[in-house]
């Protein structure tokens, strides 16, 4: 009888919609494995957020590339990683440093994709980080002592490295790689959390004899990109790991890689135990615009089990995550001219491709209809919150010969005004199944920080000029703002210790896209870099 009750409870739990909200802890990069970036804490809400005050600030001391990470908080300890693979463990109440770890980088090597780090993963007392020279390291989360270290591939050979946070599920460290703009063949690896031993590899470009290999012409598969440069998600009830695969290389020229180029620009669902492909959905067959499908994959039950993924080309894709079936795609940017739209089966309508040797207006720019900075799902509001960017470029494609591990772009670009002369950024609240805009917050520059949603009906993010601010999730009205002195490119979180809710944000301007902005907004060259964590809470008597 007890067994039967247990079984019924188990089935009941499996039927209940996945809860991706965080509470006291912020244990994973995306909050939880479903990447909602939603905190169920509601002590800070729309009525009192105006009183939010700084509790402490931690300066990391290395502002090269800004601060792009997502801090984690587990049982009152905050873990934050910075450029050049430094990790700090801090008392989450006071900001006091508990330990620090400075990864020993080789004296001479090139970090084309760096120097930033976007986060770490923690499970069973082990903290895991990918490095600029393409190692995966494990630390004792209590002390910062190094436990193991394994090289994925020589960074000097592959021109690739790791800047994204790993995903740890079922004792496996799943970690991607950069290299999508280099002559490199992408992959995703799983390592054993305890020993560091390699468990499986999924090649994002199928090799000879594998299904999908025929979508690559000649030897182009060896140099075809397909990086896995952000962090994936996991559905425990399906046992599936979801990862978004980046653009094919060369970015702007596809003449030597004729075919669909699987599995670039695709969402792949892999068996967590084996790394074997269960299904895939390719957003952009034969991409010639650099439209990664690299960004976060948000798992939501509506109640249909769907996933939401914003692509760099400016469309948000909603798929059935049990089988990859296309449900809908809607734009997050107004200025999109590389296609006329997405058809009922997810097919691209009216491709507008770059041409060799002649500039062509393409919108959005290479920086994307949105950059990688993540959106948030609020189950309370029933809305998906994401930034979007209005900007265009003139692309000139060129044929290039790939050289292993070297940059392989296939063209150049120059940022140009949008046809309506209204370049800039925005943050919108969207109905996930229709793309209907409930509200939109406009900003003169691209918004490049991730979004945090809370049960207090609040949306937090930061801007290029250093303002970290809160919007009302229902109206988009700005309720509170604090200038941290440097722009925002990281991901804010919320956590609680001893019953007090905190909002924490990295502050620190930098990154490739921030650099790109100088082409169009020359004054941004003067925006100061920074690298600090700011933590806010309500004054003690107010809560």
């Amino acid at each position: 009888m007890t067994r039967l009750i247990h079984l019924l409870l188990f089935i009941g739990a499996a039927l209940v919609a996945q809860d991706g909200s965080t509470k006291g802890n912020w244990p994973q990069y995306g909050g939880q494995n479903s990447a909602w970036r939603y905190s169920a804490l509601d002590q800070v809400d729309a009525s009192n957020v105006g009183q939010l005050a700084a509790a402490w600030v931690f300066q990391t001391g290395d502002n090269d590339g800004g601060l792009q990470s997502t801090p984690l908080v587990i049982d009152g300890v905050m873990y934050v990683s910075t450029s050049h693979n430094r990790v700090f463990a801090l008392d989450a109440v006071t900001g006091k440093r508990l330990w620090s770890y400075i990864y020993e980088l080789p004296k001479t090597f090139t970090t084309f994709y760096g120097p930033w780090n976007r986060g770490v993963a923690i499970s069973e007392g082990r903290l895991i980080m990918g490095t600029l020279d393409n190692y995966v390291v494990a630390l004792d989360a209590k002390t910062g002592r190094q436990l193991w270290k394994v090289n994925v591939e020589d960074a000097n050979q592959c021109g690739c490295n790791i800047t994204a946070a790993p995903l740890i599920v079922r004792g496996k460290v799943i970690v991607g790689v950069t290299g999508g703009d280099s002559a490199h063949r992408g992959y995703l690896n799983a390592f054993d959390l305890k020993t560091g031993r390699h468990l499986w590899r999924f090649w994002t470009i199928p090799g000879p004899g594998e299904k999908g290999h025929e979508t690559w012409h000649g030897d182009s598969w060896k140099f075809g990109g397909g990086a896995t440069w952000m962090t994936g998600s996991f559905d425990a009830s399906l046992g599936l790991v979801y990862w978004a695969v980046g653009n094919p290389a060369a970015d702007f020229y596809g003449g030597n890689r004729k075919g669909d180029n699987l599995y670039t620009d695709s969402i792949v669902a892999l068996d967590v135990e084996t790394g074997k492909l269960k299904w895939h959905f390719q957003q952009v067959p034969h991409d010639v615009w650099d439209w990664d499908a690299a960004y976060e994959i948000v798992l939501v039950d509506l109640p249909r089990k769907v996933l939401i993924n914003v692509s760099k080309g400016g469309y948000t894709y909603v798929l059935d995550r049990t089988n990859g079936e296309f449900i809908t795609a809607w734009p997050v940017a107004k200025n999109i001219n590389w296609i006329k739209g997405v058809g009922p089966k997810g097919e691209l309508l009216g491709r507008n491709e770059p041409v060799v040797g002649k500039p062509k207006l393409i919108c959005p720019s290479i920086g994307g209809g949105r950059s990688w900075n993540h959106g948030a799902w609020s189950p309370k509001a029933g809305l998906f919150f994401t930034t979007g960017i209005e900007w265009c470029e003139e692309v000139t494609a060129q044929a290039e010969i790939p050289s292993e591990g070297k940059t392989f772009f296939g063209g150049t670009f120059k940022l140009v005004p949008t046809p309506d002369k209204k370049s800039g950024g925005h943050l919108g609240a969207y109905e996930p199944l229709t793309g209907k805009v409930v509200w939109k917050y406009e900003y003169k520059y691209p918004l490049l920080a991730s979004v945090l949603a809370t049960a207090g009906n609040l949306i937090f993010t930061g801007d290029a000029e250093g303002d970290f601010f809160a919007l009302d999730a229902r109206s988009g009205k700005k309720l509170w703002s604090f200038n941290t002195g440097s722009g925002h490119r990281g991901s804010s979180i919320s956590y609680a210790v001893n019953g007090r809710q905190y909002i924490a944000t990295p502050s620190g301007w930098g990154s490739a896209v921030a650099g790109l902005m100088q082409q169009f907004w020359p004054e941004t060259e003067q925006f100061p870099n920074g690298s600090a964590v700011f933590v806010f809470a309500l004054p003690e008597q107010k809560r």
């Binding site: 090289n151 000097n156 703009d181 063949r185 020993t195 560091g196 100088q518």
Partner: protein, 263 residues
């Protein structure tokens, strides 16, 4: 491997002779423009005509020519700026310097070729200088399409992970005599068998055994894992482990082993 050869300026002078000084200068800048578009303006680098991206703006700024040559040739360590010395010829670098200097004022004229020609960047060894066997051996050694490859454990010419012996220190004769045999049948003495208190058994190379911590390379899976184990967790260290070299390089066919040996 780089050889310093000081004859690089010949093509530039020839170019100047054929086209006349002012045309020659324009031609050098135009060539630099083309090279810049192919290698420097791309992606998140210096932007079209040096207008900036993740890498610094070059337009409207003045740089010393020696500095530009050094940075283009050698790169800037620990930054995104790669070394181009092995990919560009000397006159390519000269042309790039001329073009980048022309961006300071954004006029079409660059510095006179004779001025540029006083620089002496080195010349890299090209792939075509190697015999087919050696080239094939090198490909196999570093082959990124194999999970099991020699460079997982050996570093040669700065590429690979230095877990096993430095093969560059072995003489040609030693390699010829031992390498094939070692690869196929060898049980390296350095590899020991470790048993931990939780019952895990695995082949490993001992790096350092301290009173509190023992550092090893765990060879149970490839690539090897550098692990720092509490010394008290180690039950025993046995020698030999029974680990065979061939376990780590199963992906190579016998002919590959021979070809590797040529390398």
């Amino acid at each position: 491997m780089k050889l310093a050869i000081g004859v690089f300026f010949l093509p530039v002078l020839l170019l100047a002779d054929q086209t006349g000084t002012s045309l020659g200068t324009s031609a050098v800048v135009a060539r630099g423009d083309k090279l810049f578009a192919q290698g420097c303006a791309v992606g998140y680098c210096h932007g079209s005509a040096g207008t900036a991206a993740r890498s610094p703006r070059l337009r409207g700024r003045t740089f010393e020519k020696d500095y530009l040559v050094k940075v283009i040739r050698d790169g800037i360590p620990n930054t995104a700026m790669p070394a181009w010395g092995d990919r560009l010829t000397d006159d390519d670098i000269v042309a790039l310097v001329a073009y980048i200097q022309s961006l300071a004022t954004a006029t079409p004229e660059g510095p006179a070729p004779s001025e540029i020609a006083s620089l002496a960047p080195p010349v890299a060894v090209k792939d075509s200088d190697l015999s087919p066997d050696v080239r094939r051996g090198r490909e196999l050694f570093y082959d990124p399409q194999r999970l099991q490859r020699c460079s997982n454990c050996h570093r040669v010419q700065g590429i690979g992970t230095p877990v096993g012996p430095d093969l560059a220190k072995l003489s040609r004769a030693q390699l010829a005599a031992e390498a094939v045999n070692a690869l196929k049948y060898g049980r390296p003495r350095r590899v020991q068998g470790i048993v931990t208190k939780d019952g895990d058994r695995f082949p490993a190379i001992l790096i350092e055994r301290g009173p509190s911590e023992t550092r090893i390379y765990d060879l149970k899976a490839i690539p090897p894992v550098q692990r720092n184990l509490p010394t008290t967790e180690i039950q025993s260290i046995q020698q030999p482990s029974g680990w065979r070299h061939s376990q780590a390089v199963q992906s190579y066919a016998t002919d590959g082993v021979y070809t590797y040996n040529s390398y």
